[in-house]
């Protein structure tokens, strides 16, 4: 038998494929964050006020907070099962840099937990009387922001995966890091409604995405090494 070492790309693609396959098999985990997002967003009109003007004003914030909470709910799936069945150890003992393998897991995780939320957001926005003319901004900010939430959340999950009972600790670690994203996201929407140029705000969110894309897996990988120790 030939023993051609796998390439980094091969290992990353195999990890991506595996995680997507697992998500597809565990349809519950796949649907939970999505349903949670829809439910939280629909509860606001009932709880706050069904007045269209009122809803229109808070809709961007509601959508963003719902997305943040949904991503928090979904985070736990990222490493937990792999930690429990030992797959994480295989991943860490691979000759390939853990950084890229963690990144692959993050991408797969966002594809199944973040992307559906981005895709359904215009519908929920319509339901909340979201101001016309800002739909594309909303989708764009969510498209840039939800991966950041996932990547930051992954640091928290990596830190807490070894703990028996985690409770709220994940939220306590993750939420402070997520606040700037929340602010940037809602600010972008409200500012563009008032006529400000979109590009500046999008650049800030893009910078956040690039920064977390390059740095967060580094922190996650280091945290995983500590957790598995």
């Amino acid at each position: 038998m030939s023993a051609v070492r796998s390439t980094l790309v091969g290992a990353v693609l195999a990890t991506l494929r595996r995680d997507l396959l697992i998500a597809y098999r565990r349809k519950n985990d796949l649907l939970n964050p999505f349903m949670f997002f829809v439910l939280v967003a629909t509860l606001f009109p009932i709880g706050v006020s069904p007045e269209p003007e009122m809803l229109g004003e808070i809709s961007a914030g509601v959508l963003w907070i719902s997305a943040l909470l949904a991503s928090l709910l979904a985070m736990d799936n990222l490493f937990r099962a792999d930690f429990e069945d030992g797959s994480l150890e295989l991943l860490m003992l691979s000759r390939h840099p853990l950084y890229f393998l963690v990144l692959a897991k993050n991408v797969a995780h966002w594809l199944v937990s973040g992307l559906p939320i981005v895709l359904v957001s215009p519908l929920i926005a319509y339901m909340l009387n979201f101001p016309e003319g800002a739909y594309s901004t909303l989708v764009l900010t969510l498209l840039l922001g939800t991966p950041v939430l996932s990547l930051l959340g992954s640091i928290g999950v990596a830190l807490t995966v070894g703990l028996g009972s985690r409770g709220l600790i994940l939220a306590v670690i993750t939420l402070p890091m997520s606040v700037p994203v929340l602010i940037a996201g809602t600010l972008t929407v409200s500012q563009t409604l008032e006529g400000a140029s979109l590009s500046g705000y999008l650049a800030i969110m893009g910078a956040m995405l690039v920064a977390s894309f390059t740095l967060a897996p580094l922190a996650s990988a280091a945290a995983l090494r500590v957790s598995v120790n």
Partner: protein, 228 residues
Amino acid sequence: MDKHTSEKKVQAGMLVPLLAVDDLFCERDERVLFQNLSFRLTGGQVLQIKGGNGSGKTTLLRILCGLNDNYQGLIRWRGELLANCVEEFRDEMLYLGHRVGVSKVLTPRENLLWSGHLRRQISADEIDVALAKVGLQGFEDSQCFTLSAGQHQRVSLARLLLSKARLWVLDEPFTTLDVRGVAFLENLIGQHSDRGGSVLVTTHHAMAVEGLTELTLGEDRKPRVSLS
């Protein structure tokens, strides 16, 4: 007897041992698990690590394969410090842990395809052959939650067949295996040793493997005066 034959093997073998451990010290929760632990592992050697429950067998294996860095002492791989040759070491070492690394929602084939790709390029045919060898023919496409613990272990054993690793680090590989599985694994370890591969294994089971050497942990747990 066994010890003698293996010592001869050591002398006849390569000058530089595959794995050299010197003065290993590990403390966990303020208990000393082991101290002044030194041993050599050469090509073809099978080393069984013994010791009671909680004596640090698993911890030792995890230290040696690089999952745990909570230790003092020197570990060398082919004469080079482990920290300086992590990539080469990982290439040549295969660790099968207590947790077998088999995802329950995936099929054995999918599990092996992924773990195989982490190490080398691998084809579905190779995996099917390996699965047949470990006695999982007909289960290739069943999701693993329908399989028993012993079958999970067998999926994990298929990794031994699929890898080219020189050093196998096996943590309690016999626990869930049936009689035939035990014989199969012993045979596999013997073959690996004959090909010049080394095996580090923890088990309470008396292994029927030729040239077996032993290392017992937990004997120096009580405070004692070291002569060296």
